[in-house]
Symmetry: C2
Subunit: 275 residues, 2 copies
């Protein structure tokens, strides 16, 4: 039996999909997060779309399994493939099957037998939108370009290292939103107004802040033992930024205890960017 | 009753979460994709973490509902909040509840009562890894920098507009991988070898290709009616790129019918970048 450093038992968790594995992984991890005392060795296996593919995975999960029966989280729809996993001795969590039956009952129609239909016109449009959004985000990262700020869906402003860049990229890639971000530096103070570049677009601005300690830690990662990463400088910059947000009625959030996904969700809700 | 342009009945689908809504949205959409004949009006409602919050959503879903009873896909764990939705007349698809019971039985322990515990040390590390990866991807987009290519996890090479940038960003943001991408241009031919810049890192290279027609369409979006977007030029560039991949044993895939997520999954599997 495999144990981790603390002596806790480790179990294998497989995320098995007939497509990318992203849904199985996302939901499987959301479920496992409810068992903070347990330890898992995670495996994602995408593109399992045949009985042979399933048997290869089952062969793998039988070789030196960690702990008790492996847990298989799966979004596979094929009854034949599911039967292979059920017969393997693994604990099978069928993430879609039961819910599909519920939906069939509610909608009064049968679920399609085909695998993920991705490639319609809507998907081509979505692809273009994401591509444009990612390129827009790269062009407008860290105040690099002022071109076409008028078409931005949101302009994220914050001192350096408060999380502008990853949040910008997540909003672009996941939702196809046009997001620019602009750093607040010492040059922007002591003016009471927003930086001249973004002032015209005040209603699109969203601010990020964090705690001085967290900012100092994050900056220390990049440039250890500098004024830039000192607690004094971080405290000053955050106080100034928050004052600026308040004076100019820019909505803002504290990124220190939030994931990129959480920040993105808050920003979309606050700026009414949810469809 | 709301109908779409084709006269099909439209129903409301709500993705309701006590956190970001990403899991509810991902799985809910994966389920709805199995009913290609049905039409849905989608709403994502994050941060529903109180009975009052639930009642606000229920008030909303009762105002001019599209079609029959709305469908609520939810990842909310609170029994009280779930009871509100069950009493509302909506069809409730509880995405986590049943699976949590299955897991409890298999693990022999009860699910934690707390909401999403995100903010441990592991999450801070994951945050740093993603931030570094996104910055690396921006720095190395489209061959802009040759610095630190030796630490890249993968270098994506392809002619312009084959999908390098969004795929790079997805791998960085979702998986914290260090991904550079490098464009194949006319300058790189007629050499038989890989471009000098990436030649030393041949084992890290992964190629993208597409169909000439699709490439021409995508390029036309950017620069209509140019040599660059002509079918002849696209055909030539793709043939050369595929020859280059084959000669240099660079694995490659055709992006024309794949989503960014699918391409990322194939690349990770091919380059053995899955944990």
């Amino acid at each position: 039996m495999l144990r981790d450093d603390s002596g806790a038992e480790v179990r294998d968790a497989y995320f098995v999909s007939d497509s990318t594995g992203i849904t199985a992984e996302t939901l499987g991890n959301a479920l496992l997060a409810n068992f903070p005392g347990a330890r898992f060795r995670r495996h994602t296996v995408p593109f399992v779309d045949s009985v042979d593919g399933a048997r290869a995975v089952i062969g793998d999960l039988r070789v030196s399994p960690a702990g008790a029966a492996p847990i298989v989280f799966t979004t596979v729809k094929s009854a034949q493939i599911l039967a292979e996993f059920h017969a393997s001795g693994a604990v099978v969590i069928d993430l879609l099957g039961g819910h599909l039956r519920e939906l069939e009952a509610s909608l009064g129609s049968a679920a399609s037998e085909q695998l993920g239909q991705y490639h319609g016109v809507g998907d081509m449009e979505r692809y273009f939108a994401r591509m444009r959004a990612v390129e827009y985000a790269i062009e407008h990262d860290d105040g690099q370009s002022m071109r076409a700020l008028d078409i931005a869906d949101v302009i994220i402003i914050a001192p350096s290292r408060c999380g502008k860049t990853p949040t910008t990229m997540y909003l672009a890639l996941q939702y196809g939103l046009l997001v620019a971000n602009y750093p607040l530096t010492d040059d922007d103070f002591p003016s009471d107004g927003l930086p001249a570049t973004v002032e015209r677009f005040a209603s699109k601005c969203f601010g990020l802040t964090t705690t001085p300690l967290r900012l100092s830690q994050v900056r220390h990662e990049r440039r250890p033992d500098t004024v830039y990463s000192s607690l004094a400088q971080c405290t000053l910059e955050i106080r100034r930024a928050e004052d600026l947000y308040r004076r100019n009625r820019v909505p803002f959030l504290n990124s220190s205890t939030k994931s990129v996904e959480e920040m993105s969700a808050v920003i979309m809700q606050s700026m009414r960017l949810r469809s």
